[in-house]
Assembly symmetry: C2
Homo-oligomer: 231 residues x 2
């Protein structure tokens, strides 16, 4: 079985991505980050999902992105609520964390190199998403090109690293249906940027908005209990 | 004064790079990494150099690259000694740390974004060097291209991030002469991969080899005291 590193936040998209990698025959090394995010509870979801989906290993890297600041996910800045983040003209939201996906992918690339894995899975999406620059297809292609110049394997021509983004062009409803077909247990996942102290999702942040919209459009019931009812 | 993030290991090259950035009028934000390196003492050199060269700030990010392993700089693997690492045919040495420069540059990019800085300085060199893939010009160009797709500024067209590599095509002797002309205090720097418990450089690892050769060819005395005499 080929090995793959799978970035895993514990949310719906990364869980679906891991399930796809497993279905496609990869031995999966799940990688999560404790980066100072206010929704740190997602790491418990990541551990549950990695276990349920049969990851060969799950590692959590500690890095402190609060050191640089600049995001509502790591700083004491209010998380936007009650809007569709995918609507045109909103620009890049304050929940964008500078360089986050580049840092995550760089660590994934390091692990892939020592595992001699040729594949890194990341559940980025450029359809029902928040407009983060580091989720767009051109960014992913540029990262892959850079990665293949950065590493021992790329230089020696032994292997080539592929950044796999199977969810890139799916709507959130399509992701929900795909996840259901792959047997992802939605109860194990966590998507909310601003959960209450008990870990329940707010239902109103950009991430909850997209998730709820996706389940509604897919005609599938989201088993999570939100603190806010759908407006 | 424009701001710049300057990667600073505390070695000769990064100190020279910081001195150049200061001379060229940048307000410098020095960034170092405590990544599990066996020559962790270089961080003390980085702090001394940042202070002596007037960095506006110096931050040390803790990341644990021992988590993935695969290098003599982070694992219990012997550091090669007594050879010229720039000689042809040696391949990529065991001191190569997977994805290290990509991880360092990704953090630098994050800080640059929150500082609204357009410049990142890195003292990579592709002449008298150890053949690390992530020191080559093609890698740096690919990273810069990726970085400008990854960030808010690059997307909004406000600024463009430049990865500045002023030492890329200089020999080590040229770097030594440049450093001397910029007033870099060589006593403050640390280059050795395998210092003794008192922090004295071994004189025989790849990094010491290149440094000593550079000073000899430049006709300048290296003030460091090496534990091994020059063979």
């Amino acid at each position: 079985m080929p090995k793959a590193v799978c970035l895993l936040s514990g949310g719906l998209d990364s869980a679906t991505c891991l399930a796809l990698a497993r279905r496609d025959g990869f031995q999966c090394y799940a990688l999560s980050f404790d980066y100072g995010q206010r929704h740190r509870i997602e790491l418990e979801a990541a551990a549950r999902v990695a276990g349920a989906l049969g990851a060969a290993e799950h590692r959590i890297v500690r890095i402190d992105l609060r050191l640089f600041g600049g995001s509502a996910l790591t700083d004491d800045i209010a998380v936007p609520k009650g809007r569709d983040p995918a609507q045109p003209g909103l620009g890049i939201p304050i929940t964008y964390v500078p360089a986050r996906n580049t840092i995550f992918l760089a660590f994934a690339m390091a692990w892939a190199e020592t595992l001699e894995a040729c594949d890194v899975f990341i559940g980025v999406n450029a359809v029902d998403y928040s407009g983060y620059p580091d989720c767009r297809p051109a960014y992913i292609a540029a990262f892959q090109r850079m990665a293949n110049l950065a590493t021992r394997a790329g230089v020696e021509g032994r292997t080539r690293l592929r950044i796999r983004t199977p969810l890139l062009r799916l709507s959130k409803a399509e992701i929900v249906r795909l996840a259901a077909s792959l047997g992802v247990d939605f109860r194990l996942t966590h998507s909310c940027y601003d959960p209450d102290p008990a870990g329940r999702p707010c239902g109103e942040c950009d991430s909850c908005f997209l998730r709820r919209k996706g389940f509604e459009e897919a005609g599938i019931r989201d088993p999570l209990e939100y603190t806010a009812s759908r407006g």
